[in-house]
């Protein structure tokens, strides 16, 4: 395995690390997008662990920082963020295309998954979407679900009784929140409405893009999956065109090392099974 740090894009302003396998396996290459504002190593260094595992299995990958994040300079041209993400993801694929990659998996965690889902249909080179904890406008019941377990935990009760619980913050935040988002938000928005979320997944299914969903069992994102996609994707899952991994006793960013190992192995098995 060889890793190389580089700058790419027209202004050479985007920072990336390419992990190159000693012997390519023929699987598509992976482009990893930022999770929130965390830089390209990913939450808990997940992107690095995944890239190195993939390289050991013959898969090329690139992790990078969108403009203004991590080690990448901000854009000076005033391009709106959503458009910049699309352009920069395409430029990232071009970097690996110059190294021989012909097909790609676009992926990430949280907002990285949202961006992958939004962009995967736009480029014919994308044959897979890696969606770890993708978000959409939450279902109304998600708060109850999300805190059900916490309310049963003695430690959480103590925090609740002493006013330190994050539940208070959530409730305070809800009090001042804007009215609920409309069922269909603006086209191309970064956090999709439920209808947009389903429509984007449907579009990828129609195009034959392979899908990998990974969730923490306690996450609101998984509540949305079960409510919005589980039945809809049952055929795709049984035909092997979509895979779903649900990890218990973890959180949104897969904090325990065991959860990280499970996630990395699951993703690597899946990408290894795809052909470019």
């Amino acid at each position: 395995m060889n890793e190389q740090a580089l700058l790419f894009g027209p202004g050479k302003s985007l920072a990336a690390v390419v992990s190159e396998p000693a012997k390519p396996s023929g699987a598509p290459a992976l482009i990893l997008l930022n999770a929130g504002v965390l830089h390209h190593v990913g939450p808990n260094r997940l992107h690095v662990r995944l890239a190195r595992e993939l390289a050991s299995r013959g898969v090329l990958s690139l992790r990078f920082d969108l403009s203004g994040l991590g080690d990448s300079r901000s854009r000076a041209d005033g391009t709106p963020f959503a458009e910049a993400v699309a352009t920069e993801a395409r430029e990232a694929m071009d970097v690996l295309a110059a190294r021989g990659a012909t097909s790609f998996v676009l992926g990430g965690l949280c907002s990285g998954a949202d961006n992958a889902l939004r962009l995967a249909a736009a480029d014919p080179r994308v044959v897979g979407a890696l969606l770890v904890e993708p978000m959409s406008v939450p279902l109304s019941g998600f708060l109850v679900y999300s805190y059900r377990k916490k309310l049963l935990s003695p430690a959480s009760w103590w925090r609740l009784l002493t006013g330190k619980s994050e539940l208070f913050d959530t409730l305070r935040a809800r009090r001042v929140q804007a009215p609920p988002a409309p069922a269909v938000a603006e086209a191309g928005s970064l956090v999709p409405s439920r209808a947009e979320f389903v429509a984007r997944v449907d579009a990828l299914v129609r195009r034959g893009v392979a899908l990998y969903f990974a969730y923490s069992s306690e996450s609101p994102a998984y509540v949305n999956y079960r409510s919005l996609l589980k039945e809809r994707l049952a055929g795709e899952v049984s035909a092997g065109r979509a895979r779903v991994l649900v990890v218990t006793r973890t959180d949104h960013v897969f904090t325990p090392l065991e959860a990280q190992r499970t996630l990395v192995a699951g993703i690597a098995d899946w990408i290894g099974s795809l052909r470019g």
């Binding site: 999770a35 504002v37 808990n44 080690d71 935990s153 430690a155 960013v253 904090t255 325990p256 090392l257």
Partner: protein, 253 residues
């Protein structure tokens, strides 16, 4: 900002070089990061600090310690002595890059500890220690308590294993290394040392009360390395960044 790898082929380190804007000063600045979650959450703050230093005419080098970030190693082999050596490798790299006889070290939290431990060489001219970890044993206890609280919330009943802390491997060897750290006895020989504190109590750092070259300053800033909303936003302590840059301009070569 230019990312690159440097150091031994067997232990390559990821670095980002911030070239000076305008006229260049003689010494470059090596920025030493904290460990684990703290390094992730403080990434933006250290980037902005390096950017401000480059604006003040310094070459600045941020880097990932081995077994962390984009540097070589899976985390299981991390040791404090190796990290101290990594700081030395970064110093050599900076000196080569700037063709300079000396460097300045800046370190946040455990990075401040490592900068202090690596500052025994004569080519380190000045030190900036931002809320350094003075007691490794206390740091270890705090990390373990935070990890135990996470387990109580997300995996009640799970064994509080020693092998990891909040998403990162923590071997027994590294834990023992940390437990043995006590900066009280590691008074730096440098005549220019800035102890930068963001302690909410308003206290100035009490480390090395007798050392003549130590300047103590308190800055109004949140502890960026503990920032709970790490995925959604990033804190940059503007007053501290500006204060460190201006102190280095005053004393820096």
């Amino acid at each position: 900002m230019k990312p690159f790898y440097f150091g031994d082929r067997a232990r390559r380190l990821y670095g980002v070089h911030h070239a000076p804007r305008g006229s260049s000063r003689r010494a470059g600045v090596v920025v030493c990061p904290p460990f684990g979650q703290e390094a992730l959450r403080a990434h933006r703050a250290l980037r902005e600090l390096a950017h401000a230093l480059a604006g003040a005419g310094f070459h600045a080098l941020r880097f990932d310690l081995s077994d962390t970030g984009d540097s070589a190693g899976d985390g299981s082999g991390a040791r404090l002595d190796t990290w101290r050596e990594d700081v030395g490798v970064a110093i050599d790299e900076m000196r080569e890059m700037t063709d300079s006889a000396s460097v300045i070290l800046v370190g946040l939290r455990l990075g401040g500890t490592l900068a202090t431990l690596a500052a025994g060489r004569p080519d380190v001219e000045a030190l900036v220690l931002w809320d350094p970890v003075a007691s490794g044993a206390r740091h270890l206890a705090e990390l373990r308590a935070a990890h135990a609280a996470w387990l109580d919330d997300h995996a009640p009943g799970a064994a509080h294993g020693d092998g990891e802390v909040l998403g990162f491997p923590l071997s027994r060897e590294l834990a023992a290394d940390l437990a043995a750290v006590d900066l009280e006895g590691a008074v730096p020989a440098q005549r220019r040392v800035l102890l930068a504190s963001t302690d909410a109590s308003g206290r100035l750092p009490g480390l090395w009360p007798e050392a003549p070259g130590v300047t103590r300053r308190r800055f109004e800033a949140a502890p960026v390395w503990l920032h709970a909303e790490g995925m959604d936003s990033a804190l940059v302590p503007g007053e501290l960044v500006a204060g460190v840059a201006s102190w280095l301009c005053e004393v820096g070569p």
